[in-house]
């Protein structure tokens, strides 16, 4: 641990450190010499074009794309014109600015996407070009052979702006940069001793404040990542730094180097008070005064430092974050440092751990100490250092009662993710600060773009990002990339929440209907499937999908669509294959279109339902003739349906109706529509016994029911003689208790008694009781030696029936004895 500070270099108050990020996986024959190199910030990819100016057709230059760790992503021979400048857009697309002003855009995998031109003129000659980033996106600036500047602030919404002429400029300026200030994009350029700011309309000469007059001509300039600071290098070796507004000066250093540096990049971390500039000469890297030897390499300006890419390795040069300084500075007494020490001692099982802890606690700085350790861990690149810091933090946390664990947990998670993407195979050397700036969403997008789908999914799952934002989105991209249904589905599988319909819609847009249909098969949301299928005119499929969903409203939607689209026959045939849809449509018809209903049944040869339909319809008819004809149709259909019972019943009904009509006409009986039973009742009530008898025979009314019916209606009409005659007409199929009870109901005990003797023995007691003949009941019960019957009689006896009660009780005891 002690050597953490070994590679720290002090510069004024601050320290700078160089961390090795990678040993580059690439194997470059000629190193980076004679190559155009472009590396994107935020650990972005590196593009390399060797010998861009070689024009012999026999050996075309090779364009190579690598990940930040030097893993080859793509490589292809450059067949177009000479390239002046390479650059990356914010969305990781490669811009190749050619000498003739055309800009070719390739994606990360080297496939050509599109091109545009920086000017109309065919004789355009680009001397120099710069790719720059601004809040508006990625821009390109060129300076042409005629010494004119042209700008495009956002290549996605191309708008070329030709800047005014610069007085006295011949050829290209000695150096220039693009500035974005006050929502304007400007060019700062130097021409010999003069410095100009060029905006849309004017060209103004400016002078950096405090630049010593003997400093000489400005030969190199650099603007910081945030466009806030500017560095100017003069031919006498003076380095001026200040605000990009040219309002104030930060410092001026004499580097004692008179050669122009190859690259000059700002190195600062956000919020640092001490920005510094990294300059690079052929064999020298200089951080505003500190220098060390280097191979030929490329500097990549980052948000919080500079990446130095050489042919063999890659380093990150950054100002040591304050919190790391606090902790690791030799003899630091910062709480974090003490906590780290305490934990170290604790691991050694030394009592010193306690001393350190006490010291922190006395200052009540434990919370701060934990915070520092956590934060510092975030800034560290080495996993061991991360671990020891986090362990120390977790150790300190134990002694705090209410300390929110959020920061600790988040940092652990994020570090896990960062360490994963920093892996050489992935090659995104992001610092924690950069990660925070770029957000997780963008990181996932970038991983997706680089086709690290499994990693992206793992990260989404690990960080518990809701599926629709995370995993599903990744899968969607994955799937759209593969673009072939089978492959898609093998990969995407059953993962929940994937919107196949979106993928399918895309496929349909591309004219691949079959593919779209296959893809839709995997869509879980039928609501999404159906509209697209209808759009693709796959109405049958849409119908079966709608049915599958169980959402009846969806089914109705398709059905009504089909109804309008198809001719009736086809429509019915389609429905026939979908029983659920059919029954829904039937219900609709039942409410709305009775006639359609009939056609439907007809089509299906559903004779039973057709017959039922006719029956229902018959009741809507007022005229008897039409009613009968409908019923006749019903009979036919019932017969076809082999429902003999219903056919017979319907025929009976027709017969009954005719009979009723005849009697109504003859006698005005008002029978039409009554049930058979009610008809007979009515006839009896009217005294039309003969007709009643006829119905009874014609319709084979069971004896029992007929006897009940006749018994009741005679009793109601109090035709007692008729009743008696009827009771003697033959043996009653309903027994004679019924006679007794019906007479009693009509309050005629006298008549009732007439039938008691005829009642079957097992009902005799009941009959006697019905006519309140307790003696008779008792006799019958005793004769039958039936205990429960005796009890029933007893319960009806009142106190006055002493003798009877005694007799019954005696009989009961003998009955039980036996």
């Amino acid at each position: 641990m002690a050597f953490i500070t070994a590679n720290w270099n002090p510069l004024g108050e601050a320290f700078y450190r160089k961390t090795e990020l990678y040993e580059m996986s690439w194997n470059l024959r000629d190193g980076l010499r004679d190559s155009l190199v472009a590396a994107a910030p935020y650990g972005g990819p590196i593009a390399l074009l060797r010998e861009p100016h070689r024009r012999s057709p026999s050996s075309r230059p090779q364009l190579e794309i690598y990940s930040a760790s030097g893993v080859a992503i793509a490589s292809f021979p450059w067949k177009s014109g000479p390239v002046v400048q390479l650059g990356w857009t914010v969305s990781d697309e490669l811009l190749c600015v050619q000498e003739d002003g055309s800009v070719l855009i390739y994606d990360l995998f080297g496939s050509f996407k599109r091109h545009f031109s920086m000017g109309q003129s065919t004789k355009l000659q680009v001397l120099e070009a710069k790719v720059f980033h601004s809040p508006y996106g990625t821009g390109v600036a060129i300076v042409t052979g005629s010494s004119r500047f042209t700008l495009a602030t956002n290549i996605d919404e191309l708008k070329l702006r030709r800047l005014p002429e610069v007085p006295g400029l011949q050829g290209k300026p000695s150096c220039w940069v693009v500035l974005t200030q006050d929502r304007q994009t400007k060019v700062l350029l130097s021409n010999g001793p003069e410095l100009f700011i060029l905006d849309n309309t004017s060209c103004t000469a400016v002078c950096p404040p405090g630049l010593s007059p003997q400093a000489g001509n400005i030969v190199h300039m650099s603007v910081s990542f945030s466009y806030k600071y500017l560095a100017l290098f003069t031919d006498t070796g003076h380095l001026w730094t200040g605000s990009s507004h040219l309002q104030e000066k930060l410092s001026e250093v004499d580097t004692k180097k008179t050669t122009t540096p190859k690259q000059m990049i700002w190195c600062r971390r956000p919020k640092s008070q001490q920005p510094s500039v990294v300059l690079m000469w052929d064999r020298l890297l200089l951080v505003a005064g500190v220098c060390s030897d280097t191979d030929p390499c490329v500097l990549v300006g980052e948000l919080d430092g500079v990446r130095i890419v050489s042919s063999t390795n890659q380093e990150l040069l950054q100002e040591v974050p304050l919190v790391c300084q606090d902790i690791f500075k030799i003899a630091s007494m910062a709480p974090g440092a003490l906590l780290l020490e305490a934990h170290r001692e604790y691991e050694k099982s030394s009592q010193k751990a306690d001393e350190y802890l006490r010291e922190i606690k006395e200052q009540s700085m434990l919370g701060e100490a934990v915070r520092q350790c956590v934060e510092a861990a975030g800034h560290e690149y080495d996993t061991n250092t991360q671990k020891s810091l986090l362990r120390a933090a977790s150790f300190g946390k134990c002694f705090l009662t209410d300390f929110s664990p959020d920061q600790f947990v988040t940092t652990c998670r994020e570090l896990r993710v960062l360490n994963a993407v920093r892996e050489s195979s992935v090659g995104l050397p992001l610092t924690h600060t950069q990660f925070k700036q770029m957000t997780l969403q963008v990181l996932i997008d970038r991983l997706v773009y680089r086709q690290f789908y499994p990693l992206a999914i793992e990260i989404c799952r690990y960080l518990k990002i809701p599926d629709y934002q995370g995993v599903s989105r990744v899968l969607k991209h994955w799937a759209s990339y593969e673009a072939i249904a089978r492959a898609v589905c093998v990969k995407v599988g059953d993962s929940p929440g994937v919107s196949y319909s979106h993928i399918a819609a895309k496929a349909y847009e591309c004219g691949r209907t079959e593919l779209a249909i296959k893809l839709l098969d995997f869509e879980a949301r039928s609501g999404e499937q159906v509209p697209l299928l209808l759009k693709m005119k796959r109405s049958q499929l849409a119908l079966s999908k709608a049915v599958e969903s169980g959402d009846t409203d969806l089914v109705y939607t398709v059905v009504s669509y089909l109804k309008n689209e198809m001719n009736r026959g086809d429509f019915f045939m389609t429905l026939r294959n979908q029983p659920v849809a059919l029954s829904l449509y039937r219900q609709f018809c039942k409410l709305q279109e009775q006639d359609t209903l009939k056609d439907l049944y007809n089509q299906d040869d559903d004779h039973q339902e057709l017959a039922n339909y006719y029956v229902t319809a018959s009741y809507r008819e007022k005229r008897l003739e039409s009613r009968l004809s409908l019923l006749q149709s019903a009979v036919d259909e019932y017969n076809k349906a082999k429902n003999e019972f219903a056919a017979k019943a319907t025929e009976d009904e027709m017969r009954l109706l005719r009979f009723q009509r005849k009697l109504d006409d003859e006698k005005g009986a008002g029978l039409l529509g009554l049930s058979l039973q009610a008809t007979i009742e009515a006839l009896l009530a009217l005294g039309l016994h003969k007709q009643a008898e006829q119905l009874y025979r014609d319709f084979k009314v069971p004896d029992k029911r007929y006897w009940w019916l006749k018994l009741k209606s005679l009793a109601e009409k109090e035709e007692w003689e008729e009743l008696e005659k009827f009771s003697k007409s033959k043996k009653s199929p309903i027994g004679y208790l019924a006679f007794v009870e019906v007479c009693i109901k009509c309050n005629n005990k006298y008549e009732a008694k007439k039938y008691v003797s005829k009642v079957a023995p097992e009902q005799k007691v009941k009959a006697h009781l019905a006519v309140s003949d307790l003696e008779g009941a008792a006799d019958a019960a005793i004769e039958r030696r039936n205990e429960s019957e005796m009890a029933a009689v007893l319960s009806r006896c009142s106190a006055s029936d002493r003798l009877l009660i005694d007799r019954l009780n005696r009989a009961r005891t003998t009955a039980t004895k036996k």
Binding site: P466, D467, Y468, S472, D494, P496, G497, A524, R525, E548, S549, G550, D551, T552, D553, Y556, T557, S560, P579, V580, S583, L584, R586, Q587, F588, L591, Q592, Q608, N612, V615, T616, S618, Y619, R620, E621, K622, R627, F645, A646, A649, T650, D652, E653, L656, L672, G673, L674, S675, L676, Q677, A678, F699, V701, P702, K704, R705, W708, L709, I734
Partner: protein, 578 residues
């Protein structure tokens, strides 16, 4: 207000609150004063979630019943129609709105479709005018192979899971159950993007298709609540009773003006006494009531013992509660008297005897004399149908001769038009000719112990007490599922209609319940196609059994009894003939 819903293990108030919230949000969307026009059918269900006071808070000033013609006048900015998605209702709304339009031009109209909007209705309305819609949830249906209600059920279960956590195990029996489970699994895939992070309240979901157990609803329920429903009908927690018995209670007043309006009572477990007796066999209710009466009068006697001011104060503070208990006791004594008049009648006894004969398998293959007599006496058709269907179910279909005989008797006595009703009953499987020679009902009865000879009505030890001997098949299935498991009755399950199945829903890691020793498992039993009060009582009885280790929560599409159930299957063409 609805405290009784929060007592149980599963806090049902959450569901009620969610429904209320949705309603409130809907009401607030229409700013300004409002009048609600109700589809009469919906006032009941809405009463369960929102009282008038809640509506009033949201500027609802007037309420009308939906009927054709012109709307009653009301000086409000918004008119809101609460309707079911029925085409015929759309026509009425259109008529209402048109007659209105000419008078007030600045008025806004809204329609709330319950349970949800339907494309058909919207189209119908579009024929009239442009409009805006929004919707919410409830359910119904069976016969027409209309899956709409199943879809709503599945949706409802998804809502339930969103509120109470994913249910890890799903069991089911019957065609509709399979269908609902399939839809649920499908919907789960659709919503899979957002994992539910709620600790599951329910361990198991059991979906039971009414089709599996056609017998139970046909039998006369013999619990207190069941009998109230059988005789007077309980509607959304309310029952209307004949007023005579209640009038006498008012002492000292002129007893001449007997109330003619039926007495309307709310029945739920918020009433302590009702909670105690609702699930009891009716024969045990009398004893419970008299015990209660003694306790109450003893409590009132307490006042004589109250000597100190403190004691008197304490007594007085309990007074309102005691008075409420006394009036509740009076009400239920009256109801019990009303019911007793009926249950002691010979007709009731005879009917019950026949039911029990069928359920025990006595003479189910012959024409039953009692049914014959009832037809001859022209007893209500529904009663006849209940008995005939019961015989058919208990005999696994009637012999063709018996079958045709009953049908002919019914058509001749009650009219030919009932041929359609009979057809419906056949389609529903309630009434059928015997196809195979083997009657498997006895096997089912024996295996599942559907008939318990010695049902203890006073202190029950088995669910069979709810039908005084018959243990509802549906509840037996539930009971066996909990222990020893359906594998033990595989044979019987195959005899019952429809497939049986088991599904597991993966829970996100970390949501697996760590069950404490002795903690009960909770099962949600969902009856597709309705459930009777007696079945509910039986399930509650199972929950309370000490060694069951199971807590049951009941959900259903509808509360039914034999009468309402048969009624829903009846089809009566409107007779135009004069």
């Amino acid at each position: 207000m609805a405290a009784h819903l929060s007592y149980g293990r599963v806090n049902l108030n959450i569901l009620r609150e969610a429904a209320r919230k949705e309603l409130r949000e809907f009401l607030d969307k229409c700013s300004g004063s409002k009048a609600i026009v109700w589809d009469e059918y919906l006032t009941g269900p809405f009463g369960l979630i929102a009282q008038y006071s809640l509506l009033k808070e949201h500027e609802v000033e007037k309420m009308f019943t939906l009927k054709s013609g012109r709307l009653p006048s009301a000086d409000v900015k918004n008119i809101i129609f609460f309707v079911r998605p029925r085409l015929e209702l759309m026509d009425i709304i259109a008529e209402n709105v048109f007659s209105e339009d000419k008078l007030h031009s600045s008025r806004e109209f809204h329609i709330l479709f319950v349970p949800r909007r339907s494309m058909l209705c919207e189209q119908r309305l579009k024929e009239y005018f442009e409009f805006h819609t929004s919707y919410r949830f409830v359910a119904e249906c069976y016969l027409e192979n209309d899956q709409t209600s199943l879809y709503h059920t599945a949706k409802g279960l998804m809502t339930l899971q969103a509120l109470y956590g994913t249910i890890p195990q799903i069991y089911g029996k019957g065609e509709c159950a399979r269908h609902v489970a399939n839809m649920m699994l499908r919907m789960k895939r659709e919503f899979a993007g957002s994992q539910n992070q709620i600790l599951p309240v329910f361990d198991t979901l059991l979906l039971l298709d009414r089709n599996v157990d056609l017998l139970t609803p046909l039998a006369t329920q013999l619990t207190y609540e069941g009998l109230i429903d059988e005789i007077y009908g309980i509607n959304n927690g309310y029952v209307k009773l004949p007023p005579e018995k209640f009038a006498q209670k008012k002492q000292g007043e002129a007893s001449k003006d007997l109330p003619t309006e039926p007495k309307k009572l709310q029945l739920n477990s918020a009433e302590e006494l009702y909670a105690e007796i609702r699930d009891k066999n009716f024969n045990a209710v009398g004893a419970a009531l008299s015990k209660k009466a003694k306790i109450i009068s003893a409590a009132f006697e307490e006042r004589h013992n109250a000597k100190t001011v403190g004691e008197i104060k304490q007594f007085v503070s309990q007074l309102p509660h005691m008075q409420a208990a006394r009036s509740s006791l009076a009400n239920h004594t009256s109801i019990a008297e009303l019911i007793k008049d009926i249950t002691t009648s010979e007709a009731f006894f005879d009917n019950l005897t026949v039911e029990q004969e069928f359920m025990t398998g006595v003479d189910t293959d012959k024409v039953n004399t009692y049914i014959e007599d009832c037809i001859a006496q022209k007893d209500p058709l529904i009663k006849i149908l209940r008995l005939v269907c019961m015989q058919s179910v208990c005999n696994n279909g009637l012999k063709q001769k018996v079958f045709d005989y009953y049908k002919r008797e019914i058509l001749q006595t009650y009219g030919y038009e009932h041929i359609l009703t009979l057809n419906n009953l056949e389609k529903g499987g309630l009434l059928k000719p015997q196809t195979s020679s083997r009657n498997n009902y006895p096997t089912i009865r024996k295996t599942l112990k559907l008939w318990m000879e010695d049902a203890n009505e006073q202190n029950p030890n088995d669910i069979s007490y709810v039908y005084s001997g018959y243990a509802p098949l549906s509840i037996r299935l539930t009971q066996v599922l909990a222990r020893p498991g359906w594998r033990s009755i595989e044979e019987v399950l195959k005899m019952l209609p429809g497939p049986h199945f088991e599904e597991r829903q993966q829970l996100p890691a970390g949501l697996h319940k760590k069950r404490q020793q002795g903690e009960n498992r909770t099962t949600l039993v969902f009856f597709l196609g309705g459930v009777t009060y007696a079945e509910i009582a039986a399930l509650r009885f199972l929950s309370q059994m000490e060694d069951s280790g199971m807590e049951y929560i009941i959900a259903t599409t509808k509360l039914i009894n034999g009468t309402t159930w048969i009624k829903s299957l009846m089809d009566r063409p409107e007779c135009q003939t004069p």
